[in-house]
């Protein structure tokens, strides 16, 4: 006697087919709802333990771009995006210079030479409970 008839097999296959379609459809629907054509760039950066940055250090962070300064009073950070048109500044000694149009800034971000008219933007820096330095690239 045949326990699993041809009819049962076709029925099971049909039901499996329906369930698979349902899952695929649901997956695609979820992907459709969550699709981001323009993923937003990160604005929060975990820079690791504060103890990795000795007092008096200035650390270049090209991926942001910014320079992290640790003084005796704590952490601060300067954006290295030129305030003229946003080109990434280059550092030579304690001068930041713009390779695009020649603006110069001092170590505190003050304009030494135009065409930039505004000083460099100070970025927010905090320490979390785990002792990590967190830098916020947007105010």
């Amino acid at each position: 006697m045949n326990l699993f008839s041809r009819r049962d097999f076709l029925k099971l296959a049909g039901q499996g087919f329906l369930v698979a379609s349902g899952f695929f459809g649901l997956g695609i629907f979820t992907r459709f709802l969550g699709y981001q054509a323009e993923p937003t760039p990160p604005i929060e950066f975990d820079l690791g333990l504060a103890t990795d940055y000795p007092v008096g250090s200035r650390t270049n962070l090209p991926e942001i771009p910014a320079v992290l300064v640790r003084s005796e009073t704590g952490f601060s950070a300067l954006s290295l995006a030129c305030t003229h048109l946003g080109c990434t500044l280059e550092q030579e000694d304690n001068i930041f210079s713009c390779p695009c149009h020649g603006s110069h800034f001092d170590e505190h971000g003050m304009v030494l030479r135009g065409p930039a008219k505004k000083g460099l933007v100070m970025l927010r820096v905090e320490q979390n409970d785990q002792g990590h330095v967190i830098l916020y690239a947007a105010s």
């Binding site: 049909g14 087919f17 329906l18 698979a20 379609s21 695929f24 459809g25 695609i28 054509a37 323009e38 993923p39 760039p41 995006a81 003229h84 048109l85 946003g86 080109c87 990434t88 390779p99 695009c100 149009h101 020649g102 110069h104 030494l112 030479r113 135009g114 065409p115």
Partner: protein, 412 residues
């Protein structure tokens, strides 16, 4: 019946999913960039990743592509991506240059800061060709004097007050001219202004607009050109200048036919006398941005806006050339030098200036009283001395180049 319907619907859905997956797997993976100026993702580099950066002043990470060129930034299909590009393959064409290169922080800024490039170019002789048009119309009796009335395109002088008093030019139209010679002139002789691409398939072929000068094609004059530079070699200037003569009997332009071997032969057509510096240097080593791009006013003649002479660099028997000592780090000389870093210009350096006060930023006074000049395109160093104290006996009032050529032309 319902089961069968569900099964067919499921089969269609799974087939559609499979087909979509297959098509997606065949599609190129987009290469994204988010320029800091726009903060909007664009996929142009998916196809154009191998394109060289257009200039150090316009890094793709800052500007991206779409800000200047237009186009559909998220499209991966070439036709769709290019469908809304400005000016086709040349976004600096004067018909679209304001949208592409303009803006108060870019090239249509304040004249006091030297940032009004577009306003000046629009009214410049190089763009309007107004002097030539007025001369030819006057010659054939279409106007009673040499006042320019027409340009290659209609233009208004928006930089009031006007020093020349010419506030507007109508567009020169062949159909409005009754004289057959003027019609022929319109058909054959208007290839030199910035709204024209020059004569096709010849040495004068070039882009229109800013790129006519700032995107040198090099020797081949072929292929894709993606460059903007202030170090233009004389060959780029020669896409308009020194390339032949007008035949006024037939009102046609006759291209020069000599086969140039040396730089001197290549530089100038064989009709004149020239000193060594006039062909060793490139045009832009002496002639300034105001001479080339205009001063914002509509002028009637090239001579009205061309003022650099031999004495600008060499002075006269009784006067040294005009100089200025750089004291302000904001001086425009530093910005110009930064665009083409030939020499390490410093505050305290003394450089030559034109009679209009424009800095010749590629020159410097040396401690021994001589001057140095570095070629903007060749990067070659030249040392030269002033006329004062030399054996020259030239009258100080006779300073046009023809007088200097009498002794200093290369054949002497």
């Amino acid at each position: 019946m319902t089961n069968r319907f569900l099964l067919i619907a499921s089969a269609i859905l799974l087939t559609a999913i499979g087909l979509t997956w297959w098509l997606q797997s065949r599609q190129v993976q987009p290469v994204a960039i988010t320029p800091s100026l726009t903060d909007q993702i664009e996929y142009c580099l998916t196809c154009h990743a191998d394109l060289t950066e257009i200039s150090p002043s316009h890094p793709v990470e800052t500007y991206g592509c779409v800000l200047c060129h237009g186009g559909e930034r998220l499209a991966l299909d070439a036709n769709l991506a290019h469908s809304s590009m400005r000016g086709g393959n040349n976004q600096s064409d004067l018909s679209v240059v304001e949208q592409s290169c303009g803006g108060s922080n870019c090239h249509s800024g304040e004249s006091a800061e030297g940032q009004d490039h577009i306003q000046r170019v629009m009214t410049s002789i190089q763009s309007t060709y107004a002097g030539a048009i007025a001369n030819v119309r006057y010659t054939y009796g279409a106007q009673t004097d040499l006042t320019p009335l027409f340009g290659s395109v209609a233009v208004n002088d928006t930089s009031l007050p006007s020093q020349t008093g010419i506030l507007h030019l109508e567009a020169f139209a062949i159909s409005s001219e009754n004289n057959q010679f003027l019609q022929t002139f319109g058909e054959n002789c208007l290839t030199c202004h910035l709204n024209s691409t020059g004569v096709e398939d010849s040495l004068s072929t070039r882009f229109t607009g800013c790129s006519a000068c700032h995107s040198p094609a090099g020797e081949s004059r072929a292929g894709e050109i993606h460059t903007l530079t202030t170090a233009m070699p004389y060959t780029q200037c020669n896409t308009c200048h020194n390339r032949g003569n007008y035949d006024l009997r037939t009102m046609t332009f006759v291209e020069r036919s000599d086969e140039a071997v040396t730089r001197l032969e290549s530089y100038y057509q064989p009709i004149g006398q020239f000193t060594q510096c006039e062909y060793s240097l490139d045009c832009v080593d002496c002639h300034t941005r105001t001479e080339a791009m205009g001063d914002g006013d509509i002028h009637a003649n090239q001579k009205d806006i061309e003022y650099v002479q031999c004495k600008t660099c060499h002075g006269t028997l009784t006067e040294l050339p005009l100089t200025m000592t750089l004291t302000d780090p904001e001086d425009i000389a530093f910005r110009l030098a930064q665009l083409n870093p030939l020499m390490d210009l410093q505050v305290g350096d003394t450089i030559l200036v034109t009679e209009q006060g424009e800095p010749l930023w590629n020159t410097r006074l040396l401690p021994d009283g001589n001057y140095e000049l570095i070629g903007k395109a060749t990067k070659q160093l030249f040392i030269f001395r002033p006329v004062m104290g030399s054996a020259c006996t030239q009258d100080g009032l006779e300073q046009s180049s023809a007088y200097c050529h009498e002794c200093h032309a290369v054949e002497h």
